[in-house]
Assembly symmetry: C2
Amino acid sequence: MRKDYLLTPGPSIIPSSIRKVLGGEIIHHRTEEFGKILQEVNEGLKYIFCTQNPVVILTSSGTGAMEAAVSNFLSSKDKVIVVSGGKFGQRWAEISYAYGLEVIPYNIEWGKAPSPEFIGDLLKKNKDVKAVFTTLCETSTGTVYDIEGIASFLKEKDTILIVDAISGLGQDRLLTDAWGVDVVISGSQKGFMLPPGLAFLSVSKKAESFLAHSNLPKYYFDLKKALKSYYKPDTPFTPAISLIMGLREALKVIKKEGREKLWEKFARLSLATREAAKSIGLKIFSQRPSSSVTAVVSPQKIKSSELVKRLRQKYGVSLAGGQSHLKDKILRIAHMGAVGEQELIICFSILEKGLREMGYNEFETGASLKKLEEVLYA
Amino acid sequence: MRKDYLLTPGPSIIPSSIRKVLGGEIIHHRTEEFGKILQEVNEGLKYIFCTQNPVVILTSSGTGAMEAAVSNFLSSKDKVIVVSGGKFGQRWAEISYAYGLEVIPYNIEWGKAPSPEFIGDLLKKNKDVKAVFTTLCETSTGTVYDIEGIASFLKEKDTILIVDAISGLGQDRLLTDAWGVDVVISGSQKGFMLPPGLAFLSVSKKAESFLAHSNLPKYYFDLKKALKSYYKPDTPFTPAISLIMGLREALKVIKKEGREKLWEKFARLSLATREAAKSIGLKIFSQRPSSSVTAVVSPQKIKSSELVKRLRQKYGVSLAGGQSHLKDKILRIAHMGAVGEQELIICFSILEKGLREMGYNEFETGASLKKLEEVLYA
């Protein structure tokens, strides 16, 4: 009889209209029919990425697109700034090292956001920096970075800004072209309400001009090939056809709701989540909380990993614990894609129950639900 | 009212029992529940790969796994033999060049199969060859290669045999361990009756020992990471969860039918296809036809690309034309995965119709169906 409530920061809930497409019959990808689907999807991606530049589709998880950004836009020993304040900033550094780039690390405490001015200073001191790698929403800490601020220091420079927006896109505001972000990366299993398996990568004119000089090896993730196919429209290798068919459906839903409305909605949902958590005595981990995922500090005597396990196994509510050194310290509640008010209400109701079962009682019963209603229905 | 009949060499038909799973609700991948699915899937893959070694799952098309084989088992300037007798042999060469390997090309005429003895001679002349790259079923020509014969020349040598079995696995017999094949690669959208998006790669003990020495850059396709996760079981990056859930269902179907039975079935289906084609005056392109896909030479005055378009658009029967220089010359009929007698009967009935419409009349009406029945129901 158990139902499942998915509030993890990827995968996220898939609406039944999209699941219906995913479970439909497959079609061949080298056909006019699929070409039309690609055309529609390409337009939809530009909309949600806020760009007039191409957004290529790769069949991989988001990490594949991150690797593509490193191996296509740069060359061995190129100097890059890598902002790292969580697991996914670290991933930029790991990929950069794997390809022999010269990394200028800008490490910040987990839960904090980088200072755009500091990056500006680094760029002044290092005139030959080819790229800045950073993150829109650092999923591991629930922190949104000031991408507009960072981008302002790269204008008119021969440096490209590459942003991992895998978990942030669709919830956290990101004006790719208006702010001057060269490469934005996302994945299918978060704001796009799809299963994992697709990654997206936007390419500015400036970034495209970097492709010609790169000397790093690549094949499956070769963006020159991907862009060449993009304009047909086609893909260089067999794509995840059913996911792309689902993507068309998802983009229809997104366009109908409107990107600005979505940013407002998730700002409200995340505010409600923070206020609800505080109303039962829990602290917010991030100093610059994102609209996509909220990291809550677990009560001192409760290991968040155990709480997460209990909520999932006993009550079907899936939240995420922490990663790396935060494994037992924080609890992450995602509000992305198809997550709405209803899921947050269920989440906090079960969270109150689980906390009490594990011996944490420092709140009034129903306090978080009252707070949710106050913020959400105001 | 039109229904579609998919006889292309990937994607192939997806049975409704599998589609139901693909359209089901998504679950989180870092859970006990998904761990159990992975465990089951890992066992099933060993069965269909005929190996006791691990078969890792990558979220990509088959080409991603081909790249993984190059970038993980080899180092720059390593000497490798690449067998190329079609588009997918060429792909091995392209990837090898992209990573700076020293390629000894063994180019054969499209439609012919390589000589194991010739490879044996190449190995004698080049003692320092690290790997031989070849193909089980060369999809572009419908040719099956003598992998057992090739493998016999690599025994007791410090050279690994890497086989692209993307379209062949499940139809063309391949005894990975018994023949001594080190790395076998496949993909989800052929014999596995799934949408594209997953690739599989088996790793022998000998191949695993090569991982430590490789100096080529990799991250998303890092097989050391993949193997480390494999034993938990887990995946290093977010996998295509819904496809893996579908894979569990597909492997159940495959196990129930039995791999030996499947090899027999597809040997019979491919024989029937060849005989049916010949009965209406068409020639078979390959000199060593595979059980997975049959390449038929188009009648002289008919461009196969136009015939394919007509059959698909007018009658919903999807076949494939040729690739590269064979674009207008051959017609490819796939018998893989869930394709059965019924689909072949529809295929040839519509093929007869289409051929007549395009001016080819050199056969008796129904001749190919008569032949199909003779072979299939004998």
